[in-house]
Structure formats: structure tokens, C-alpha cells
Symmetry: D2
Subunit: 123 residues, 4 copies
């Protein structure tokens, strides 16, 4: 196992491949199942915030931050695993989506206007 | 705007910072709201798989793969944005979680055994 | 089709059975798929609230309330359908859960104390 | 506390009102927070199915069925609570949605055709 700090998503991807192969778990890792697992982890992450005010969410106590950090890790791991199984370059897809959003929400048009956030979710 | 291909999560993080700042949207990006947005995107991703068999999910048609690619991007973008707001190093957290899981599910003990997958979710 | 106003969850259950049978859709309604659909609908419901403040969520405009009403309906429909497939009496289960919660959170102990909401989610 | 078996969603609604009032928890029950809690519970329900095959999901062991029953109850409780806070008649909304779906997916047109399930999610 590589004990060196991961420098890239590719290294994370490779570590996850090895992890599943060593345990013969690929059989369970259909994209459908991985998409379910990802949504479940995203919800476990959200659960930590459900009764907090927005302000409280900006100042999480150390113990809570530690738990949230682990959920973020679970989400990333399933995200990378699912993208790998589908042959998708995550970073390239994310960059492309920012460019799509930049055209959809031009800064000069939406700046200062909360309409986007009060009329429809942003993405 | 940086038109070069992103090489790292840090570059993605910086692009997302600039995107929100240019539009004065940080006010909406409390960790709580970002956690909600992340869970909503993970669910939109899952929706593409909900009526597919596991086998069909391994062979997505080109048009569907394109839509799924965009949802994966949305999930990564909110994940990076939320981690940034919380001051968490995502890749380091993911690596640490794999190490925790490796101890929790030693390969020699769980290999070939589907018990973990039939009795409790794995992570 | 019964045009009379439903008086009970049983009538809703029967209407959903007929709806699926008429379309030969039972084949898709495995409990697993129904659980996924339910989670997806719950997320579509949540999406309507994601950028709102808690106060704004208490005063939804008419158009938004109409959309939220439809999402609530979708969630109930999948919930009733899934419970039916699993042979579970929803109302009885809900009543039992309230009793469990009443013991877990005795009113005289938790009243006035927000600890439960700041330390762990309530249910 | 009413120990009689609930006969209707209205009785469930009233029991949930009393439960929250007795504990002074209405302050936390903004529609936004309730929508989050509902989505989180729907995900906890889904988690029980995430690694099962569709067939296995049709034959849950007794212990698993017991856990799933509790999650279904949690979902219904938050659904009824949220609908109550928004002044929405759940059963009427569900009935209306079935009528909308009946027009959108006429039985004679979609029967035997899985297109709806292979091209887009049904609802």
C-alpha cells in the first residue's frame, strides 16, 4: 500500500481500485450501486448540519468537524470510484461544468442579484 | 478565466472561489446550504440509474453517459466548495479514510466473503 | 377510476396498485427501486428549500407552495407503494415510532433544552 | 397520550404536534429543516437496500424488515409534520398527483412498453 501522500485524483483512483480488487468487491460495484452509496454518504454528511443554523454551520466544533471530514472523504471515494467505473475524467468534467455555468450565469448579469437564488437553485 | 486544463483539486477550488466571488454568491454558500446542494446533486445523479438493472448501468448509452458526467461534475464542484469553506484537505481526508477502512476490513479476512455486503453497507 | 376523495392510506394504496397493474409496471417496482425513487423524490422536495433561509421557508409564495405540494405527493406515493410491497402497515409503524421516541426523549427531560438538536439529530 | 391505534393521517398529525409542543421543539421545525430531515431519513431507508439485488430486496429477513419498518415510519412522520407546517392536505395532494400521472402515462399507451422506464424515471 502506498503510504505516500496522494498528489492527485489518479492516485486516489488507483488506491480504490486496489482496495476493491484485494477484497474481491468489484462484483458489488456496479455503477448503480455506487451511485446509491454516493447519495447515501452525501446524506450522512448533510445529517451533521440538519438542525444547525447557517451561522453555526460556519463555526463547527472540532469534534463535529472531524466527523464531517470523514463523510466528505466517503463522498469523494465513491465519486472517484463511480467515475472510474464509467470511464469519466472527473476534473475535466468539473472544469467543463464551470464553463457551462459561467455562460448560464454571466457575472455582470447576476452579480448583486439574488434572483437566481430565490427563484431557482444554482449550479 | 483560466482556460488551461485543471491539473489539481486546488485549481478547481480556486476556480470555484473566483466564480462565486465574481457573482457575490458567497453569502449563500454557508456550509449548511452547500451540504444540502451536494446531497441534492448526488440524488440527481442517482435518478439516472433508478430504473436500470445493475447490468444496464454498466453499459450506459452515450447520451445518458453525457448527462451522468455533468451530474458527477456538479457533485465534485459542491464537494470541493464545501471542503474549502470548512478548511478541509479533501485528498488527505480520502486517503486517511481508505487507511481506516483497510484496518476495518482486512483483505485476508473479507476476501471472497460477501458477508460485509449482505449484512451491512461497506465503506 | 375512483373519483371520490380518498379517505385513507388504504385507498391510496389500492389506487397505486391499480395504476401500476394497468401499466404492467410492477416488474420495475422492486423494493430496492422503490426505495431509490423515494429518496430521489425527497431530494427534489428538498431542492425547493436549498437556498432559502428558515424564515423564508415558513412563507412560501403560492407558486412555490404548489410545486412543493406535488413533491410531497410524490414522496407519499412511493412511501405507500414501498410499504405495500413490503407488507408494512405505515400508520401503525409511525405510531410505534412516536412511542419509542417519547421514551427516548422524555418531555420533562428535554423540554427547553436544545442539546438534542445541537448534539444529535432528533427523530 | 392517545394509546388507541391511529385511524387516520390527521391523528398522526395531531400526535406529532403534541410531541413537538411538549418538548418545545417547534423552534427547530422550520419547513426547510423538516425537508432536510425527511431527505436524510429517506436515505437511511435506502441504505438498507444499497448492496442488495432487486430479488433479495423482495425477500428481506425478519431483522432487516424490522429496521426498514422503522425507517419508513421516520419518513412518514417527517412528511406529515412538514405537510402540516405548510398547511398541505397530503392525501388530497397524492390523489391529485395520481390523476396527473394517469393523464401523462395513459395505460393503453404505456402498457407493455418499458420505454418510460428506460428513457426517463416514472412518477
Amino acid at each position: 500500500m502506498n503510504a505516500q501522500k496522494y498528489e492527485s485524483l489518479e492516485q486516489l483512483r488507483d488506491a480504490l481500485r486496489a482496495f476493491a480488487a484485494d477484497r474481491d468487491w468489484d462484483q458489488f460495484h456496479s455503477p448503480k450501486n455506487l451511485a446509491i452509496a454516493l447519495a447515501v454518504e452525501a446524506s450522512e454528511l448533510l445529517e451533521h448540519f440538519q438542525w444547525l443554523t447557517e451561522d453555526a454551520s460556519r463555526q463547527l466544533p472540532a469534534e463535529k468537524l472531524k466527523e464531517v471530514r470523514e463523510e466528505l472523504a466517503d463522498v469523494l471515494n465513491y465519486l472517484v470510484r463511480l467515475s472510474d467505473k464509467l470511464g469519466i475524467d472527473l476534473l475535466a468534467a468539473a472544469q467543463q461544468k464551470i464553463e457551462i455555468n459561467a455562460k448560464k450565469y454571466p457575472a455582470d448579469k447576476v452579480r448583486g442579484s439574488s434572483r437566481k437564488y430565490t427563484e431557482r437553485p444554482s449550479e
